[in-house]
Symmetry: C2
DNA sequence: CGGACGTTTGAATGGACTCAACGCACGTGG
DNA sequence: CCACGTGCGTTGAGTCCATTCAAACGTCCG
């Protein structure tokens, strides 16, 4: 299939692999043709809040493309500890597997639309459409970079800094950030945030207290946080 | 280009994307033809111990394929903290970039041979050879999984467990593990290990003390550690 | 023999954790 | 409409572990 002009333009701007990433939340853009091709081999699925998309150690035959909503990808360790590796949004791909089994679990945090892509069919499609495969390459590379960011935040910051960093990450998602009012609407509860940042729920709570005390945020409700964007940014940088 | 029988066999075993990963250290295997094609567009480079492959924030025009040796990929944060994100070995790809600049720094830990692959030429090659692009996709996915592993280890284990986990990781590399004698030869100094595991150098030292005290390892010299492989594995799992 | 660097060990500090109690919002049923 | 229960969030007290600062130790190389 010949590439569309639009696709080429987009690629020319963002760069190929390795990706020249726009702001971390943005992603490789699939063209309309790409999407049609993927829908041809995939099956749409709608998940409600708390529904499981796939389960760690479960037989893995599909990869998933998130079309709307939020997906929480977590891993359970042998000692019973849960770790959230990523939150996925529209355009993200998930379903990492090893030896035919999913490595992690994925759960929808709200009503979420995904496209299930059978592994074998996807292989064939990607091989026949190098441009599409390249989009996937860019997506995975972006995911890698996102994970690296988390890794760094996790091991270098104290609890308040981690929390500040998370709040700034939230501002990248328009659905959950009112830029005019500077208000973040949290999409995860305290325990989820804790497992994402490598903290306990109580510490997340206390970290919010510290930030509020410092005047960097104001608590509107448990799920709504007003932020002083630039001061918060400065706080994380320093 | 028609795929070789060998390539198809290998792929049939390991699976396409998302990769069915063999032991974590192994990687997508490039065929001889792949390598020839890459050498056609790339330039071989030899690095001595401590030589920089590329620098964080430096202009990024090349991706690198490690052909032998060890590469340490690290990131320096604004607050002066250094984090080691990965050690790369033969067959690994590195050079993640954003906006035309490298995101991390890469340094050789010993004599290291790499193939520098100009970004634009690589783009063209990958698009013209879907099978080769797929190998890269697998490599990046493997890298993502490796980073996830590190992330989990980092936030769930205490210092001795992190250290034990690192030692087990070392056993995957034949050049640095004498399986018969059960002796690991560390390829990084205490500070590097510390920055990889999110600890201080002193804590790494103490963690080794704890493991030795528990009879899980024996210190032969600062860089050579005898290990009780199965007991160590059991220690990490539990 | 001395110096430099990496490693180990010690003592004191601090930050996050656990355990526990309390507060708050929501929903249900009387 | 109020009483009650439940789930989540916050707050408090005490403990533990990694860190920092500091000094001693070792080893390799001049």
């Amino acid at each position: 299939m010949a590439p569309s002009a639009r696709r080429l333009r987009i690629r020319g701007t963002n760069g190929w692999f390795p990706p020249t990433l726009p702001p971390p939340h943005e992603n490789a853009v699939l063209t309309q043709e790409d999407l049609v091709a993927l829908e041809g081999i995939g099956q749409a699925r709608v998940l409600g809040t708390g529904d499981t998309m796939y389960e760690q150690d479960g037989a893995a035959d599909m990869l998933f493309l998130v079309q709307s909503g939020i997906v929480r990808v977590s891993h359970l360790t042998a000692d019973g500890n849960r770790h959230i590796l990523a939150f996925h949004w529209q355009g993200d791909v998930c379903g990492l597997m090893e030896d035919g089994r999913y490595v992690n679990s994925a759960v929808a945090l709200c009503e979420t639309h995904v496209l299930g892509l059978p592994r074998v069919a996807l292989q064939g499609l990607l091989l026949s459409q190098p441009l599409l495969q390249n989009e996937f390459l860019v997506k995975v590379a972006a995911d890698l970079r996102k994970t690296q960011r988390l890794l760094i935040a996790l091991s270098s910051f104290d609890a308040p800094h981690k929390m500040a960093s998370f709040l700034l990450e939230c501002t990248h998602h328009e659905d959950h950030y009112d830029a005019a009012a500077q208000v973040v609407t949290l999409f995860a509860d305290r325990k989820d945030i804790a497992d994402y940042l490598g903290l306990s729920g109580e510490t997340v709570s206390r970290a919010l207290g510290v930030l509020a005390e410092a005047g960097l945020i104001r608590r509107i409700s448990t799920r709504r946080i007003g932020i002083e964007f630039s001061r918060l940014r400065h706080y994380v940088e320093a």
